[in-house]
Symmetry: C2
Subunit: 241 residues, 2 copies
DNA sequence: TACCAACCGGACATAATTCTCCGGATTTCA
DNA sequence: TGAAATCCGGAGAATTATGTCCGGTTGGTA
């Protein structure tokens, strides 16, 4: 949103489409498209119709497809800075002195980011490996992640059989919860994570965040069903055959 | 598959479409459609194209839509017996003497059923409240569920702040994991559930099932992305603009 | 200022899915 | 057996999303 294109990255050119040599109006439109995509993806997930992105950006569909030939190109451009921010979480967690606090921080911050951004949620689970950005980011952080886990285990606060891949397991679980509860019980995922962190800890068990009420649960499921593809089916009367 | 239509249910008529008074060929086709739907839904989830159901059933699209005007009608008919089987799990768990074993059995069996049946997974999370069957089944078992939880808590083996709604939380999390890992790491969900059960228990922590290897994790994500909407995009060469 | 290359945008072709219509075939019952 | 009620099935209209094409416009440069 702020400095999504900083000059130092010009060499990397990770977004798949050349940025240099663009005419002024082309560059302007590119920015508007990326910003619109970021919003739409955050609201609707990575499967959102691209025409809607073009509309919000105020450009024609042709402009969008010319600049970003595939959906993946657009996804990469839209989440470039967001992924950097996510990546920074691991390093920030490593800077914490308390190994357990660092570990919890990683899980909680990752899940929190996914809870507020459907696109990011898709990106970190379903689509992770199809994205070039994610690949490089994953490389860059697999090491930090392993380090964070090992440090907590050596401190004796994390169970020995925990493996770094479990983080992804947790992210998938988190995605499953947020996908359904996002609107009616936006904090349900915190309870899931609290359970999982309690299970990771060698011993102990801390009080859980409030559970969603039955009403919240019901509305979570209902609301999500309405949001997804379950429209009134278009049929008005019975067929009189 | 075997006795999905037992005469004693004729009074209930829960499937939304009348079954009595159907001509012989109509009834035959109805059965074939329901069986085909059960298979397709199990393989592809509840959003599978209905034409595919018609094709596998060996009937025309018109026949399918005449018998089941909405997708929900077909879903209900297809999962009628499956839901009864799921419902029986709770009662079976209650018949176990050990409260903790009963509780674990409930969670594990529910999740196992979801892991092998995409349609059931959808039904128990995303679409649960839109289904009439699920509503009645939910009524019937909310009580047994509460009883199972309370029993375990009174025995001192289940943490006091666990609530029956947490079961749904676990199911959503399980759905999130199985959705992604179904093909490449079909047992990843067991590890998640083991974590969650460990967290539920008041104290203790048992060894976890094997974690998915990095290769499995990668293939899980890749395979799932291929299966879902990420086809080759239809474009072959670069656009030469 | 004037020209050309680059770019814009919407109309259009394509594809997938849902749902309907109706001529023709089949079953049932007298 | 024969007629009438019922049902079948595929063609096709409507909808939604994707990706392309081309006439017209704009920005940059001489």
């Amino acid at each position: 949103m702020s400095g999504w294109y900083s000059g130092r990255m010009a060499a990397t050119e990770s977004a798949g489409t050349a940025r240099r040599g663009l005419r002024a109006d082309a560059l302007r439109n590119r920015q508007r498209i990326v910003e619109a995509a970021r919003q739409i993806f955050e609201e609707q997930g990575l499967d959102a119709p691209l025409d809607e992105v073009a509309e919000r950006a105020g450009v024609g569909a042709g402009t969008l497809y010319r600049r970003f030939p595939t959906r993946e190109d657009l996804v990469e451009a839209a989440f470039e800075d967001e992924l950097l921010r996510v990546a920074a979480i691991t390093e920030e967690a490593l800077r914490r002195e308390d190994p357990w606090a660092g570990f919890c921080m990683l899980v909680e911050r990752l899940c929190a980011a996914m809870a507020t951004d459907r696109g990011l949620s898709d990106l970190l689970t379903v689509r992770l490996p199809t994205s070039q950005v994610a690949a490089t980011m994953g490389e860059r952080h697999a090491q930090a992640l392993t380090q964070l886990v090992r440090r907590a285990q050596e401190a004796g606060v994390l169970r020995e059989d925990f493996v770094p891949e479990d983080i992804f397991l947790f992210l998938m679980a988190n995605a499953g919860v947020t996908q359904v509860t996002r609107h009616a019980a936006p904090h349900a995922w915190r309870r899931l994570i609290a359970y999982l962190l309690a299970a990771c800890r060698a011993g102990h068990s801390e009080p859980l965040p409030a559970a969603p009420t039955p009403l919240q649960t019901e509305r979570a499921l209902l609301g999500h069903a309405e949001t997804k593809g379950l429209r009134p089916t278009g049929r008005d009367g019975q067929n009189k055959s």
